[in-house]
Symmetry: none
């Protein structure tokens, strides 16, 4: 991990965890991780030392066009190889600027330099290519530091390459079961006895508005792993399956979207306190236009009246954060977009705007289906970001439950 | 940083960034950071090496009661000191369990052991105390790995102790200038000569849709730091100030919101490809209801017609992703929400939906003000997330530029 910003604490290093997790899953033991700033001598010392104790050294960061990006130079120096310009890499960089309709600054050309004998790893999301240097039985891999550039390069090129080069077979196989509508303690109590298993291991962990259980098996191949994982997964589903929304790469918005698609339903949204967050998550899913018609972010009372048909009388009598207003918002969205299902949220995200009767965190979520609406009341805890995140999570789960015909008595 | 979970990638190491940031701010240079698993030999090797190259070694993690918590034993062994039970530490651990009304397991007693001559650092939020060992002119600090236990111990005890022991007066002071609408290479070229300065230092770094320049001064106090930073900041502003939107904790959505508030303007949005992301970012800002009236996420053509008044003829002639449709969306949003300024986006976020004439990444952003609309055309690169993120970033910058009366010729 290379970058002074990491040592100054201005950037939290998420790349290291990402790389380590995938290496572990592929049976590559990570024994050391070092972070070093944009300083030639210390960077060279760390790299030289890493080569005394590891077969594979993976470097992330320091491949940019600026003067303090030293990775190319340090790797070339430590491995005693000259830097050469790679024509393919140069062409890719030139193409990047041409497509962007921006002039290519002279400094960008530096990014086409690689140590002699290295192979380029193409970067689909940025200008700096990565590269791999084979050094005897050792391998030095250099990747950019920008996470969305580094990750696909690591997954699609580096990992298959390392598995092949080092003939890896046995590995860790993980499956993650994902839950919402149940807290971590409650879930953990119902699966506690399963956590004493050694292979596979069972471990719950929590994030905002959801809990995951990771089942990890050490096995020679995927079939053996499946034989170990399947019975444990079945037992967990038997106990707490009603809260489980998906596995592995499933997201709540993706699962909700698939359910809508299978039901042949369309969706519309009316958002007040979440301000577009639910629509943003629904449309994070490629292809969501097949079921998502659109939404209204009604941040003002006027917008609720004019764009969603909420009655001024109801607003005056019950206030914007109320069950009747949530229901009218949902009915209005269903009607105006012509959607099968509409979901509306109104609440107090904070930090201001709360009162004793309607404290920060109070949220109403309403669903409208077949011309009838029903509102649910929630009291969420935490700051603005938590309240908005929990509201979105709960609304997405309600969409999923409606489209799958599951109980929505939360 | 000690803990196998860090090497397995199951935990992102936020402690390192926390500690590094505070050390830097107090004039302690962090040159190396190493992460090691719960393995005796490798841990001892890393510690021994750290002692050859640093005055202060800070270890976080491995102080728990379980068998794989090795920090106490490794530190004692490497420093050639016996482990002794500290009566104060033992009393604190016993008190912790008594207050929690839980029986104290025998393994917890191990947490009262410290290397002979060490001083205890009390842990107000957990059972494991930390400790400091003075070893000649060197210092080894051991802290728990749980962030909410570690942080107050570090801030309240370790930092004052280190400042005192090493007679530190000077400290590092940083200012971050934030830019958008200019690439990293282009910005770097225009400030390259300033990067040769030693105090303050000047370093650019990039993230999605923005570039930052960090100016860092080593100074005795805040006033002296300001005297060092101010002229460099002024020179950078003179050269590239037209692209600068804020400093330090400023966000583009926060700055755009302040500009709207100061102009006395209101804002409405019409989003197609961003699907609510711009509204979500605008409403991330507490108090945004003072200027944000709302938005329409018009993910279907019908919604563009019905909720925003886009003409069916224009849609048929030019397609949904076109300058005329973007302009009509913006005018429709301005009119329906009664907003001073309306911004509309329509584009192809991908991965599907692109064609030769309208490739993935093609985006039109239109602004409507005083009944007149103008569309801007962009060709963004990257995957769905990047295209959506860059679109939102550019739209927020256009809002900022309009509200501040700056040029919008991008």
């Amino acid at each position: 991990m290379v970058g002074t910003e990491l040592l100054l604490g201005q950037t939290v290093d998420t790349n290291a965890a990402y790389i380590a997790e995938r290496l572990a899953a592929n049976g590559i033991n990570v024994y050391f991780k070092a972070t070093v700033g944009d300083n030639w001598t210390r960077f060279a010392a760390v790299l030289a030392q890493a080569l005394t104790r590891a077969d594979v050294v993976i470097i992330s960061g320091g491949l940019g066009p600026t003067e303090d990006d030293l990775t190319r130079e340090v790797v070339a120096a430590v491995l005693h190889r000259p830097l050469v310009e790679d024509p393919q890499a140069l062409a890719a960089i030139e193409r990047w600027f041409a497509v962007s309709h921006r002039p290519m600054p002279p400094s960008a050309r530096k990014q086409a330099l690689i140590p002699e004998g290295a192979r380029i790893i193409a970067n689909a999301n940025g200008t700096a290519p990565g590269f791999v240097v084979e050094h005897g039985n050792q391998t030095v891999v250099c990747l950019p530091g920008v996470p969305y550039e580094m990750k696909p390069m690591f997954d699609e090129v580096v990992l298959p390459y390392l598995r092949e080069r080092y003939g890896l077979a046995g590995a860790l196989y993980s499956r993650v079961l994902k839950f919402c509508g149940i807290g971590e303690s409650a879930l953990e109590e119902r699966v506690r006895d399963l956590q004493h298993s050694a292979n596979p291991t069972v471990a719950p962990y929590a994030s905002l508005g959801e809990v995951k259980i990771r089942i990890t098996a050490r096995a020679e191949n995927a079939e053996e792993a499946e034989r170990l994982i399947a019975p444990v997964q079945q037992e967990i589903v038997r106990r707490v399956g009603e809260y489980m929304y998906g596995i592995d790469e499933d997201t709540l918005e993706g699962v909700a979207g698939r359910a809508l698609l299978q039901a042949g339903w369309t969706l519309a949204l009316a958002e007040s306190c979440t301000g577009g967050l639910i629509a943003k998550r629904i449309t994070d899913v490629p292809g969501s236009s097949a079921y998502f018609l659109g939404g209204v972010v009604s941040y003002s009372n006027e917008a609720k009246v004019k764009l969603l048909g909420v009655s001024e009388k109801t607003l005056a009598e019950h206030g914007a954060v109320s069950a009747p207003v949530a229901e009218q918002m949902a009915l209005g969205a269903a009607e105006r977009f012509g959607a099968t299902l509409a979901v509306a949220v109104t609440g107090i995200a904070g930090p201001g705007g709360g009162s004793e009767a309607k404290p920060v965190g109070l949220v109403y979520i309403a669903c409208a289906l077949n011309g009838r609406a029903k509102a649910y009341r929630f009291q969420f805890q935490g700051g603005r970001e938590q309240v908005r995140g929990l509201t979105a999570q709960t609304a997405l789960d309600l969409i999923r439950r409606h489209a799958l015909g599951l109980s929505t008595e939360l």
